[in-house]
Assembly symmetry: C2
């Protein structure tokens, strides 16, 4: 088997590499293959307690300040889509990773990998959108980097955004904090980002145009924190959808979960495209929604507060954390049956963020 | 003119784009084209005082802590080269950007963009090298991200590393701090990283093997700070070499500089390859060297301390900051003539970091 010399530079590999030992698109899906890669490659190498929390952000202490720190690369295709572009998406994604740890986002970095030949106008549009999204969210872009690669060596623009936020005293949200009896809350309808990207990419002619839900969630989170509700953890269901977000929490908390399908809002257009293409909306990404685990006594109060915020209008209690079947997420379907909501194995929709 | 549809996704541009309004490799060189891009695209969009310092790191204040924050993407080709690889290089580059601000590096992020089909073994080698370099430098990798793109959509592995460091009380290093009379100090021989990459990439058969000087400079910086010398600023001469680093300082400080060519160490192998290929070592990247501007009264003491450190053995005073010709870097050559050391216009060596 010949080696892809261009891709690997000088690395020489004398023996054929079995397909199972190569990177596939599913390794970037946020599903089980991503989890495998994390377990097999990254966690053993970088072993430390902060990383092992496996939350969307690291919480680190510097001179008594509790900081949230996160990074995300964005390779979304196409660069511009209904409801956003790679610039605004990068800002929202990173802000949301900080906010899911209960942190107030403060500072962002912006690192661009550009393909030779890219029109400056395209870069300008992306950078201005990045700036607009950051300003709207009250965060400053304080450091950056630009690399250029030869034509054909990247796909237009890749963006990396890292972020720093401040975690208020007493806030301790982590995926291992869910307890039996807790309620599972979803802030709104699922799957809109993934299906908007897919529709754009594949040129689907939807009767009602569908926009990505890409949005910065910190204001919603601040409103939720303002209620004093005993929040255990939050996740934004991006790659892998709410199934991955909830499976991760169930696994880390060694708890079971029961969901009620009827309580999960799905827009008609999203449901339609999913049925047409054989996709399951539970596995399709949002970029402006969150799931929260909260003490059952505070759940109604929290949902009421969320509905006051434009980003939480459709907030719902969608299920309960249970003491049974630790690590398993089970859903009561609209038909009255029960099914297991597993982690996504491969990748339904590559390059949606 | 047809549009590169794959690269630009859905972005449609009805008019031909002149070549001058497209990204070229030189925009990533660290020279004048990079500076143009910064001035025309990034600074107007992200306008704020922290970014406008144009140092290698942002210094931000969080609850009274002064933090350094930096980001860098790495697209070096080949992935593995004599003296390092994309993993160790990413760690060293980011640590050095923090250290140049006088900060103690604390935490790193690691974000990987992987090409479908990449052997897991290649990823493993890079990740282990990343970890080893971070551990050797005493920094923790606390957060990460992995994206996968289709075969042909990136070049093996791209890495982004962002970092957080702590700036000690009283330390204020910035490119605008150089004053006439200050001495310019270089920690060692120039051009080794760039020429090592070039030799590997082009299959040059050097009599003496040349290794990249890629190294983490924080220990050297700590030793320099320990002398109490009045440091004005530091830069690591990466893309664009020492010419870019010094031109940036001269411009920001509105001061002139006079360099003494005889004082600038260049290894024979580097000089030989440069002569052969028509390159100027002043424009070739290091990844384990620094230039420092220091009060003239402290210069000898500082050089002596640097020479005690393995990374500063060849430290030299290479020139003086002057009050004449603000923004201009002038060199007295070994031939006794004088020449202007300008910013690099295009890109001598693309993808060296």
């Amino acid at each position: 088997m010949s080696q892809p010399a261009k891709a690997l530079g000088s690395f020489s590999c004398p023996l054929p590499v079995p397909a199972s030992e190569r990177i596939v698109l599913g390794h970037g899906s946020g599903g089980t293959l991503s989890a495998d890669l994390l377990r097999k490659v990254f966690l053993p190498a970088f072993e430390n307690a902060t990383l092992a929390r496996l939350d969307d952000q690291a919480i680190v202490s510097v001179n008594g300040c509790r900081l949230a720190f996160t990074t995300d690369s964005f390779v979304v295709k196409p660069l511009f889509f209904p409801g956003g572009d790679i610039g605004s998406l990068a800002v929202h994604g990173t802000i949301n990773d900080l906010a899911m740890g209960g942190a107030k986002p403060l500072f962002l970095s912006a690192a661009f990998i550009l393909e030779e030949g890219l029109p400056l106008e395209t870069l300008n549009r992306v950078v201005n959108s990045f700036h607009k999204a950051a300003t709207a969210a009250g965060v400053q872009v304080v450091t950056g980097d630009t690399k250029v690669v030869e034509k054909g060596s990247c796909d237009g623009i890749f963006v990396n955004t890292s972020g720093i936020g401040l975690v208020p005293d007493g806030v301790k949200l982590s995926a291992d904090q869910a307890r039996p009896g807790d309620k599972i809350i979803l802030s709104g309808a699922i799957g809109e980002h993934g299906i908007a990207i897919l529709a754009q990419r594949e040129g689907l002619d939807l009767q009602t145009p569908l926009e990505s839900d890409s949005a910065a969630l910190y204001e919603l989170v601040a409103a939720m924190q303002g209620t004093g509700a005993r929040l255990r953890c939050m996740r934004d269901p991006t790659r892998g959808g709410i199934s991955s977000a909830l499976n991760e929490i169930a696994a880390r908390s060694r708890a079971g979960m029961t969901l009620d399908e009827r309580a999960i809002p799905v827009r008609e257009e999203v449901r339609g495209v999913c049925e047409l293409l054989g996709l399951d909306p539970l596995y399709v990404a949002n970029e402006g929604k969150l799931v929260a685990i909260v003490d059952t006594q505070d759940a109604e109060k929290l949902v009421a507060a969320m509905r006051e915020n434009p980003l939480g209008r459709q907030a719902q209690i969608i299920g309960t954390v249970t003491g049974e079947n630790p690590g398993l997420v089970v859903m009561r379907t609209t038909l009255g049956t029960t099914r297991i909501v597993d982690m996504l194995a491969g990748d339904q929709l590559p390059r949606i963020c």
